[in-house]
Amino acid sequence: MQYNTSDNAGYKVLELNGEVDLHYSPQARKQILALLKEGYDLLVDLSAVEYIDSSGVASLVEGYQLSKNVNLKFGLVGVSDAAMQVLQLARLDKVFPIHNSIDDIVK
């Protein structure tokens, strides 16, 4: 499967959805790394994520680390409760730039 992407406010927005587990996270990881390598500032939209596990979180961590290396912007947007719970558990809620919505970034 392919996750949807869109352009908004100078960012590439990648919309993850459903259950980002060991089965789906490789695709998420692939798209995150590809977009960064193409030189886009990246926002990962987690508003439709119902479940995310450590492999999904790891994909986000990998994207975050790559963005730092290549001086691109990387952030999470619209993090669902389910995803937030996991990020908090991983103490990553204070590490990732997390935005409520794209509108917040524009402001």
């Binding site: 089965h23 596990d53 450590s54 790891a58 680390q65 103490r91």
Partner: protein, 712 residues
């Protein structure tokens, strides 16, 4: 019988001397006087001399006092004269020289037996003895005529003499195309014999043909001839057993003679034959007495008793007896099995902490188990196995079980109880039989357990943390050493339980056809960790229920469990080690947790932990080899959830399974942190048979995790 008349013509029949013919004809005339008859006899000096000799012979009863024919006729009467003339005529009718190679002696022997038998029957039955003698002398004379005509068949005589009257008759039809009775009848007519003589001779093989004849003497003669035939055959023919039966039967039905009377008659016969031969001037072989004939018949009888028919009958009878005995034995065994079952304890109420199962290999069991509560509330229990199987083992089983039950109620010291039982068995044991037994005492309130293991396989103490401790036998089985001591092993059951079993379990055949063994048993128990003790017991018993092979030995399993222990099984789910399978697994777990009234946040966190554990198995244990399987089980006990994940991959290096420093931000290593963060207790089981890994995770269900009553 036109055939007979065709094959033997009247011209073939021998003719007596002229004087004899004239005397016979004269005798048929009731008005003839003695003088005239005497004159006729005198015309043939040879005949006259023979008549005088016969008249004076002891057999015909005159004792040598008669010196002339006229006096003989005066004393004897016409009929006796006629009979004597007939006898002489028959005797002389065929010159043996005309039948070279034919057993003439044998023929006369046979004929005289018939005649003498006829005379004896007549004497016994009150008939005219001389008349019967003569008739019987004549009845088979036709056969000699037939051999005389068809001389080339003379060798067949041997077969005749060895056959009974019925077979002889059939042989005659086959060989001569006629029968002796018809030839004799012809002769009787030619010789001008009285009508009743002729009729009886012609019908003596078919007496029933004479039923309509008016003269009763004719039928009597016919019956006498018929019986005489069979009596004579008894001395010469084979198959004497059957012939004797016929003789007795005919004598009884025709003359109302008992077997005893028949036997007496037969005993007299050989001597009578010799006397008759002497009287008629015939030379015979020495006659065998009837006892000798009977001995021969008895030997045959014994031989015939073991004939095929007899064997078949005996076999059928033996099989019937066997079936009856087997039925009786089966009933006995069933009753014995019932008594045995009554020695096993009744299944107590569901919460009783001791219970067991006994499955005999045969009708009767050598295994046993028992438990009962003492007055102080503690529980005695025992499980034993008598050496050997079947009835003998079951008897000792009954004794040992009863001793424990009876003595146990008074002797509350386990060690001393065992000493007493051992002493009792040693005193009375036979054939080196012995009993292995594990016995114990359990206090459900304190959890304290005492165990004595005398020669039984190790008792398994399954501790709360999943560790299995073996309590090996320290003493020899009961019934071997009279003064044995029985040291007690004492410990606290805690929240664990005891599993006891007979060697029928470890030595029994599992489904793969191999002996289960101690390893196999431990493996089954490990797979059952977290399940209730009763489920563990059932799983062990099921091993043997599922095997195709015959149960090798009695199987007995008993459990002593922590009395407060109630384990609720919420889930057992098996899935393949593939990432795509995880979603379905999570759904299963979610349903269970919602069913336990967990809060949504709590459900999500627990699912995350379980999922991380499963992911680790897929990634690290199976290394993404999707052919592997994973089991997840969820149990609820003492307000605590227990999650058990089992895999069958190679054992992982547990030192590598650890949480990382969260300040070091990198992609991997979060899973173990999640698990440790969410669960109260996480551990791998130390011993995992089959080289797999078993992970146990526990979570206390406190108020923070549960919805309030009524919340959804």
């Amino acid at each position: 019988m036109t055939d007979a008349l065709d094959s033997i013509k009247p011209s073939d029949l021998p003719a007596p001397p002229q004087a004899a013919i004239q005397i016979l004809r004269a005798c048929a005339n009731p008005e003839i006087n003695n003088q005239e008859l005497a004159k006729l006899a005198a015309t043939d000096p040879v005949l006259s001399a023979e008549l005088l000799r016969i008249v004076n012979s002891p057999y015909f009863g005159m004792g040598g006092e008669v010196s002339n024919i006229i006096r003989a006729i005066n004393i004897l009467g016409h009929k006796a004269l006629r009979n004597m003339v007939l006898c002489i005529s028959v005797r002389d009718a065929i010159d043996p020289k005309n039948l070279p190679g034919f057993d003439v002696t044998g023929f006369w022997e046979d004929t005289l037996r018939r005649a003498a038998a006829g005379k004896l029957i007549a004497e016994q039955a009150g008939f005219d003895a001389d008349e019967c003698f003569t008739a019987c002398l004549l009845q088979d004379f036709g056969l000699l005529v037939m051999f005389h005509v068809l001389r080339e068949r003379k060798a067949d005589w041997l077969e005749f003499i060895q056959s009974d009257p019925d077979k002889r008759y059939q042989l005659e039809e086959k060989i001569f195309d006629t029968t002796h009775d018809q030839v004799s009848l012809m002769l009787a007519k030619k010789w001008s014999l009285p009508e009743n003589f002729s009729e009886a001779i012609g019908a003596h093989h078919h007496c029933q043909q004479l039923a309509a004849v008016e003269n009763p003497v004719t039928l009597t003669l016919c019956h006498v001839m018929h019986c005489a035939d069979w009596l004579a055959a008894l001395f010469s023919a084979s198959g004497k057993t059957a012939i004797l039966r016929v003789v007795y039967s005919k004598l009884e039905s025709l003359f109302n003679m008992s077997e005893q009377q028949g036997l007496e008659l037969l005993n007299q016969l050989p001597a009578q034959v010799e006397d008759a031969a002497n009287a008629l001037g015939l030379h015979l072989h020495e006659q065998s007495d009837f006892e000798q004939v009977l001995r021969e018949a008895n030997v045959r009888l014994a031989e015939e008793n073991t004939s095929y028919q007899e064997l078949t009958w005996q076999l059928e009878k033996a099989l019937q007896e066997r079936d009856q005995l087997a039925k009786a034995l089966a009933l006995e065994l069933e009753m014995a099995a019932e008594i045995q079952r009554s020695l096993l304890p009744d299944e107590k109420q569901a919460c009783f902490p001791v219970y067991g199962v006994n499955i005999p290999a045969q009708e009767l069991s050598g295994d046993f188990f028992d438990y009962f509560m003492l007055e102080d509330g503690s529980i005695y229990f025992n499980l034993g196995d008598v050496s050997g199987k079947g009835v003998t083992a079951s008897l000792l089983m009954a004794k040992t079980s009863s001793l424990f039950h009876c003595l146990g109620k008074r002797e509350h010291d386990l060690s001393r109880l065992m000493e007493q039982i051992n002493a009792e068995i040693c005193e009375t044991t036979v054939r080196g039989m012995f009993v292995t037994m594990v016995a114990g005492k359990y206090n459900p309130r304190s959890g304290q357990v005492q165990i004595v293991n005398a020669g039984n396989p190790p008792v398994l103490f399954l501790q709360e943390d999943g560790k299995i401790k073996k309590i090996d036998a320290v003493t020899a089985p009961l019934g071997i050493v009279p003064d044995s001591a029985f040291p007690v092993v004492e410990f606290n059951l805690g929240k664990g339980h005891l599993l006891m079993y007979s060697d029928g379990v470890t030595e029994g055949y599992a489904a793969d056809g191999n002996e289960l063994g101690m390893h196999g048993l431990v493996k089954v128990i490990k797979q059952q960790l977290g399940n209730t003790p009763r489920e563990q017991l059932n799983a062990i018993v099921d091993i043997f229920r599922h095997t195709e092979t015959r149960q090798r030995d009695d199987i007995t399993v008993m459990v002593v469990e922590h009395s407060g222990q109630v384990v609720e099984h919420l889930l057992k789910y098996e899935f393949t080690a593939e990432p795509a399978e995880l979603q379905l697994m999570r759904q299963q777990v979610r349903q269970v947790l919602i069913g336990k009234n967990c809060k949504k946040a709590c459900v999500d966190r627990l699912i995350l932990a379980v999922n991380e554990a499963a992911m680790n198995i897929i990634q690290h244990a199976y290394n993404f080899d999707s052919s592997g399987n994973i089991w997840i089980e969820i149990m609820h006990k003492d307000n605590e959830l227990q999650f058990k994940l089992t895999d069958f991959a190679c054992a992982i290096d547990r030192s590598c399974v650890k949480s990382r420093d969260l300040n070091d931000i990198r992609p991997g290593g979060l899973g173990v942190h999640f698990i440790n963060e969410i669960m109260d207790d996480v551990k791998f089981l130390d011993e995992c048979e089959n080289a797999g890994n078993i992970l146990i995770m526990r979570k206390k269900l406190d108020a923070s995790c549960l919805n309030k009553q009524g919340d959804q």
